[in-house]
């Protein structure tokens, strides 16, 4: 897996229109995971008289793998477009968020290894009643996050310490003190 590239320093310039998709390699990995999971859970259920104590967790896992496969398909069909106005996702469960309407930015990091390396970032942008979710497998992920962080700063969006730490880890300067936990500073209106 390639290193997550550090974002370029924030310049505040309006970026040009950029189209982004999930790379085929990342999607193939997720399809393989979904397939392996379905095989490990559905096959015993289909060919063995499994007792309910084992059948229920197996069926629950099979359902999760099926949802994951559907989500991978949704990601494959999704195309994100970013410009100076906002971010747009075309495809199933798509939508659009204008930068000046951005009201939430969450950035989470997940890793399955004990050393917490080889993980991935999960972002959730919300605004105008819509939430767009994508992860660091997306081409140009860091550029989107950089633009979103800038918009969050302009809109006075409160970021959690987890999001701030993850922004710093990406090389993106987080917005100035958002006022959280500061009893002398009023929170911005949602």
């Amino acid at each position: 897996m390639a290193e997550l590239p550090m974002a370029r320093p924030s310049t505040g310039e309006t970026p040009t229109v950029a189209e982004m998709r999930y790379p085929a390699g990342a999607l193939a990995g997720d399809y393989a995971r979904a397939g392996a999971g379905l095989a490990l859970t559905v096959l015993p259920l289909a060919f063995l008289p499994v007792i309910p104590w084992i059948a229920v967790p197996l069926a629950a896992c099979a359902l999760l793998f099926a949802v994951f496969a559907a989500r991978t398909l949704q990601r494959q069909l999704t195309r994100l477009t970013m410009d100076g106005e906002g971010l747009r996702a075309d495809g199933p469960l798509g939508g659009a968020i204008r930068w000046d309407a951005l009201s939430g930015l969450k950035l989470r990091y997940y890793a399955t290894r004990r050393g917490r390396d080889d993980g991935w970032m999960q972002a959730a942008l919300s605004g105008g009643g819509k939430t767009l979710r994508f992860d660091s497998n997306l081409e140009g992920f860091d550029a989107v996050i950089e633009r979103a962080a800038l918009a969050a700063g302009r809109n006075g969006v409160t970021l959690t310490p987890v999001t701030v730490d993850n922004l710093i880890a990406l090389g993106i300067e987080p917005p100035e003190d958002t006022g959280e936990d500061d009893p002398n500073k009023k929170r911005p209106a949602p």
């Binding site: 897996m1 390639a2 290193e3 997550l4 990342a26 997720d30 995971r33 979904a34 392996a36 999971g37 490990l40 015993p44 063995l48 008289p49 499994v50 007792i51 104590w53 084992i54 896992c61 999760l64 793998f65 949802v67 994951f68 989500r71 989470r108 990091y109 997940y110 890793a111 399955t112 050393g115 917490r116 390396d117 080889d118 993980g119 991935w120 970032m121 999960q122 992860d135 660091s136 497998n137 310490p161 987890v162 730490d165 993850n166 710093i168 880890a169 990406l170 936990d181 500061d182 009893p183 002398n184």
Partner: protein, 332 residues
């Protein structure tokens, strides 16, 4: 989060399969099998067994088949709820285990609850009032709990429970309820007897948890961001609960995975001392007599508990602190 759960489950399933292989191989490693042990025992008593009957028994129990075949049959059987046959009891494993699994689960759950309920407030108190009289007393009790062997504590508790409260010594219920179907009276009897094993099994774990939470919380409370939050006028309760306590809980949560099997397997000696009808003593006996399907089923049960416990604690940690470590690198 879905991607994380999927990846964790995909790690979990092969792990369980690998554990089942290792468990089966380890049980088979000692020379001979259950019938060899039985013949040796009979010979030591001056008795003998007909070779033809021995071969017939070996064929009946599938002991003459290759190891991989025995393993495949055992694994497929487990999915069907057939955990094999106990040679020692001449009964299916599920019948031998009977109530023991549910009683073990009840005692284990109560013990974990006891550990959390007691250690959480004491750990916070000790950290927020460091070097106070209360901290010293609780620290002393914590060390005492860590240092006292559980079986010794069991003997002492049994004596005092009988002298002071009139509770019958040993067991998890009054003798008249043993082997009887579940009833309100039996449940109350179990409840009445349970507090002694719960305290005995949970004491060491509680003491360890208190020490860990106290140390973690003290580390956090001395960090500059807490001093800054206090200097800015944040109320003490909020300055404690909002971040330091949450961060200090990470190792606490990570320990759930180890707690579950530790409580179940670590209670074996205590169960022998207190005559508890739990799985521990039966596992010990099954391992000694090479009752392979019974021992294998118990070991798989412990492995499943461990894997599920680690899975749950990883999920809780991922939800609690989805933060990148700056020393580690993220990748696509």
């Amino acid at each position: 989060m879905l991607g994380y759960v999927i990846r964790r489950i995909l790690i979990m399933i092969p792990t369980l399969l690998a554990i089942s292989v290792i468990t089966f191989v380890i049980i088979q490693l000692p020379p001979g099998d259950y019938l060899t042990t039985l013949v040796n025992e009979m010979q030591s008593r001056g008795e003998s067994m007909d070779q033809g009957r021995l071969a017939m028994l070996r064929e009946t129990y599938g002991l003459d088949r290759p190891m991989y075949e025995q393993y495949a049959l055992w694994l497929a059987g487990m999915l069907r709820g057939d955990f094999g046959y106990s040679f020692e009891y001449n009964l299916p494993v599920s019948d031998v285990v009977g109530d023991r699994l549910s009683l073990t689960a009840i005692v284990s759950f109560a013990t974990i609850l006891f550990i959390w309920v007691v250690s959480f407030p004491i750990g916070i108190y000790s950290a927020t009032r460091q070097y106070s009289l209360g901290d010293y007393v609780l620290t002393f009790l914590g060390f005492l709990g860590l240092a006292t062997p559980s079986f010794l504590l069991a003997l002492v508790m049994l004596y005092f429970a009988n002298v002071w409260f009139g509770t019958s010594i040993g067991g998890l219920m009054d003798p008249r309820y043993i082997g009887q179907p579940w009833s309100w009276g039996k449940a109350m009897s179990v409840f009445e007897h349970m507090w002694i094993p719960v305290i005995v099994i949970g004491t060491a774990g509680t003491a360890a948890m208190i020490r860990r939470l106290r140390a973690n919380l003290l580390d956090e409370l001395h960090k500059p961001y807490v001093v800054t939050a206090r200097a800015k006028g944040l109320p003490p309760g909020r300055a404690l609960v909002k971040y330091p306590l949450r961060v200090a809980l990470n190792p606490f949560v990570a320990d759930i995975g180890n707690l579950l099997p530790q409580v179940v397997s670590g209670a074996a000696i205590v169960s022998v001392v207190m005559s508890l009808p739990t799985t521990g003593p039966m596992l010990l006996q099954a391992l000694r007599s090479q009752d392979m399907y019974l021992a294998g089923s118990f070991l798989m049960f412990l492995a499943v508990l461990t894997v599920i416990g680690v899975f749950l604690s990883d999920l809780a940690l991922a939800a609690l602190d989805p933060r990148i470590r700056l020393s580690g690198g993220a990748s696509r």
